[in-house]
Amino acid sequence: MLSVKNLHARIGEKEILKGINLEVHAGEVHAIMGPNGSGKSTLASVLAGRSDYEVSEGSVEFFGKDLLDLSPEARAAEGLFLAFQYPVEIPGVSTTNFMKSAINEIRTYRGQDPMDAVQFLKMFKEKMAYVNIDQSLLSRALNEGFSGGEKKRNEIFQMAVLEPKLAILDETDSGLDIDALRIVAEGVNKLKTPQNATILVTHYQRLLDYIIPDFVHVLYKGKIVKSGNKDLALELEERGYDWIISALD
């Protein structure tokens, strides 16, 4: 579904991604690991369409469409989802209203009728149960005054509601205690189907105890320098990144 070829991206004069190649198929879970500053979050942001980054070379196809040509909202409507490392506070807009707008704009994009209030509420209730999220949290202004765990859980809830074909989780494990991590991981696992795919961007192996990846890629200085299966993550946990880096440098 996703085909990234020789992707280069820069912020200002600084080139951060220096030729990424990545193929993701339906049903797969990919983990992208790497030391700080290797470009992991940049890759996630570029795929979601953050305008701070300029793509200078390469291509990204998503179900055959040129992803880089689409606005962030069109990418979402095509089935891409980014769970943010730092979910943004949206003062005065409740999660409920926020998701209602999102759902109905996406449906309009896809040529479907908007959902009425009854349908929406029914669907919402089902998804709430999925990620064990409380109604009171959803009627509060989105992310405003939420704890780290609440923010991440809310991201997974949004993912459950939007049912993306490809979900990119950017450092979703950061700042979570072990219980919150387990709940978030369970949510992600429940949402997994043979039709969708997940990219986990993470610094630590910890999350991969709960979400088992099919592929593990190591990103370093803007390139994927090593790929393997879940055993690679375990090896990284044990030996760190240095053995890979020193082999390169």
Binding site: S51, E73, N104
Partner: protein, 421 residues
């Protein structure tokens, strides 16, 4: 100094009392405010010199539809003339200031020695000169009216007209009213709408004052509202500045007793070719009182906004709590906002704070929303509506809140070409 031709035309007004002539002389000497005046730096009215003003407005009758919600009475001020539509509720009187003072000699002596208005300007002088025997709304002791009193303030003219209006509201002890003022115009000609409202709030009285300012693009509206609060009184003031080419609000609170609470809430949404200027004064003269200011603005098109918030805490006003917040969103690259908080504190045991911000909608928030499939236009709309709602939500009256909310949402959406699904 006023333009020569205007001096000649204004001097043809006869039968002015000595006091009126004195005020007129002051106006002529000073002329219209210009940007050289510190308090009018961003809101010059120099261009008013170019109009051939009709100083005596025509008599006006209007047909404004009544609201569907329950209201106690409609009071109209049409081109400066005030009357009530239908019977006034028990305990409320509407009479001329001369009659009122004759019936209240004790108050008259108090009124005469009240502290002078700060930042008195030439338009106040003009109003004093020409709005002579103005109306007084008298709310008697202990009278509490649950339904809002609706005030239609309307200006109009078949030619360029300067309209002077004035009303005095007198709340006796323990009384309580909601005054909902709809400021409107019915003219394509230039109108200088110069309005003075003075309000005396006696001990334990409670006033909710709501101004809905929605005037046409040919109107220059200057609103001087001076509120004198006595011991343990409460005023909740709301100013919603929605439309007019030029809107200036001079809103002053004079806190003359202890345990007073003054709440000032304001929302201005100027669009293309509109200027909206708020100059607030909160003068804490007595101890143990509290003032809270919350102002918000959304500036669109090439709009100009001004906020100047003065807070004085006099030496006797110990234990004062005074807070001020002014937040603005520039929803266009061409819009400008000028803010100036001004706190002067002479007492040492007080809590005061102020904060002003002016910025654009957060790119982070917009990207976050768009990444969920919400279009940029909808994301902007949702953020702006949430921003203004904070002020609107403070209105307790559900129907007035809904009416104003709709009107403000429509104004913002129309100005920015945004719609919600």
């Amino acid at each position: 100094m006023l333009e020569k031709t205007l001096v000649d035309s204004i001097k043809t007004i006869d039968s002015l009392t000595q006091a009126q002539q004195l005020a007129l002389g002051k106006f002529i000497d000073k002329g219209f405010p210009t940007s050289k005046w510190e308090e009018w730096k961003y809101a010059s009215l120099k261009h008013l010199n170019e109009r051939n003003w009709q100083w005596s407005p025509e008599t006006l009758s209007v047909n404004i539809p009544k609201p569907a919600w329950k209201h106690s009475v409609i009071i109209q001020t049409l081109n400066g003339n005030t009357h009530s539509e239908g019977a006034l509720p028990q305990g409320i009187a509407l009479l001329s200031v001369s009659e009122f003072m004759a019936q209240n000699p004790t108050f008259e002596s108090v009124w005469k020695v009240r502290n002078p208005i700060l930042d008195q300007n030439s338009l106040y002088d003009l109003n004093e000169a020409l709005a002579s025997d103005y109306a007084v709304l008298w709310v008697k002791k202990g009278v509490k009216i649950a339904e809002p009193l609706l005030h239609h303030y309307v200006v109009s003219g078949q030619q360029d007209t300067a309209v002077q209006s004035k009303i005095f509201i007198y709340l006796e002890e323990d009384s309580e009213i909601t005054w909902f003022e709809q400021q409107r115009s019915e003219s394509s000609h230039a109108i200088l709408s110069n309005y003075v409202q003075e309000i005396w709030v006696s001990k334990n009285a409670h006033l909710t004052l709501i101004k809905d300012q929605d005037l046409q693009q040919s109107i220059t509206h200057v609103d001087h509202t001076f509120i004198f609060q006595q011991e343990s009184s409460l005023v909740d003031a709301f100013t919603f500045s929605i439309n007019a080419a030029y809107l200036r609000n001079n809103l002053h609170f004079y806190i003359d007793g202890p345990q007073v609470v003054s709440n000032l809430n304001g929302l201005y949404v100027p669009g293309e070719d509109q200027l909206m200027d708020t100059h607030s004064v909160v003068d804490h003269r007595m101890p143990h009182s509290e003032s809270n200011e919350l102002y918000k603005g959304v500036l669109m098109g090439n709009a100009t906004g001004v906020f100047n918030g003065k807070i004085f805490v006099r030496p006797d006003a110990q234990k004062t709590n005074a807070f001020q917040s002014c937040k603005n969103v520039l929803a266009s690259d061409r819009a400008t906002m000028n803010t100036k908080p001004q706190l002067e504190i002479w007492a040492d045991d007080v809590k005061c704070s102020h904060g002003t911000t002016t910025g654009q909608l957060s790119d982070e928030a917009l990207f976050y929303m768009r990444s969920r499939g919400i279009s940029k236009a909808t994301a902007q709309t949702l953020l702006l509506l949430a921003f203004v709602q904070q002020v609107i939500d403070k209105l307790e009256h559900a129907e007035i809140r809904a009416e104003l909310s709709d009107k403000i949402v429509n104004k913002i959406q129309a100005s920015l070409g945004l719609t919600l699904l």
